[in-house]
Amino acid sequence: MKAHLTRRYWFSASHRLHSDEMTEAENQTVYGKCNNPYGHGHNYGLEVTVSGPVDASTGMVCNLADLDAFVEREILDRFGHSNLNVLEEFAGRVPTTENLCREIFERLESGFKVPNVKVEKIRMEETLMNSFEYAGGRELQV
């Protein structure tokens, strides 16, 4: 039996939306107050969904302790309480939540290797009013 398991995490970070390929006026038009020069911050909610067969001996898709340890080390320690714009991951890339989703998904997909477990998708809440989902470019399951 295949099941999907989702775990929710939180981290806080700052960013400024600004593209070097646009003029100052264009940046202000496109990004509005997100373009304010000194940046601003969010409490990001991160939901990680993994899927796989439920192991008959443990009753689990994946041991949560393993997932928590990976996310803590590779994502929360890296991005939590950071200024996203100064990280090398965002050199030449605007740290929108779309791009942050892609970066985090790729870290999970390439680094979280557990037999029979697939990183299905992530969902990020930038605020309670907007959220983003990314499944490595695949269509999302309803």
């Binding site: 039996m1 099941a3 999907h4 398991l5 989702t6 001996s57 041991n63 309803v142």
Partner: protein
């Protein structure tokens, strides 16, 4: 096709233990969930059904009927129970959220007459949930 979700809650206790594992393995794999006297959660259950909207009633499913089936098949059986000791499915399976979601699907699916069951989502805490779509 329209999807409709009904939410309900139940409270239950459980612990994780596989008699085929050694005590050390049980502690290593299940951590504090292996504590022998168990612990509890307020579970939130979301049941999603799908179907075409009936032209005359405007319904995908009669919500009253869905509520009755959920109450009878799930809430009456699981609410304020010790899952390991009082629910037949968990005499032989570990009552993880994965297995509880599958058991809820298997309880509901044969009883839903009008709409088709699409997803069972079970929250163990607000930060942890399992989805089961009936996949093999």
């Amino acid at each position: 096709m329209v999807y409709l979700t009904r939410r309900t809650e139940f409270s239950a206790s459980h612990y994780y233990h596989n008699p085929e594992f050694t005590p050390e393995e049980n502690r290593r794999i299940f951590g504090k969930c292996n504590n022998p006297h168990g612990h509890g959660h307020n579970y939130t259950l979301e049941v999603t059904v799908k179907g075409e909207v009936d032209r005359r009633s405007g319904f995908v499913v009669d919500l009253k009927e869905l509520k009755e089936v959920m109450n009878r098949e799930v809430i009456d059986a699981l609410d304020h129970r010790h899952l390991n000791k009082e629910v037949p499915e968990f005499k032989t399976q570990i009552p993880t959220s994965e297995n509880i979601a599958i058991a809820i699907w298997q309880r509901l699916e044969p009883r839903l007459r009008v709409a088709q069951l699409h997803r069972v989502r079970l929250y163990e805490t607000p930060d942890l949930f399992v989805d089961f779509y009936g996949e093999k």
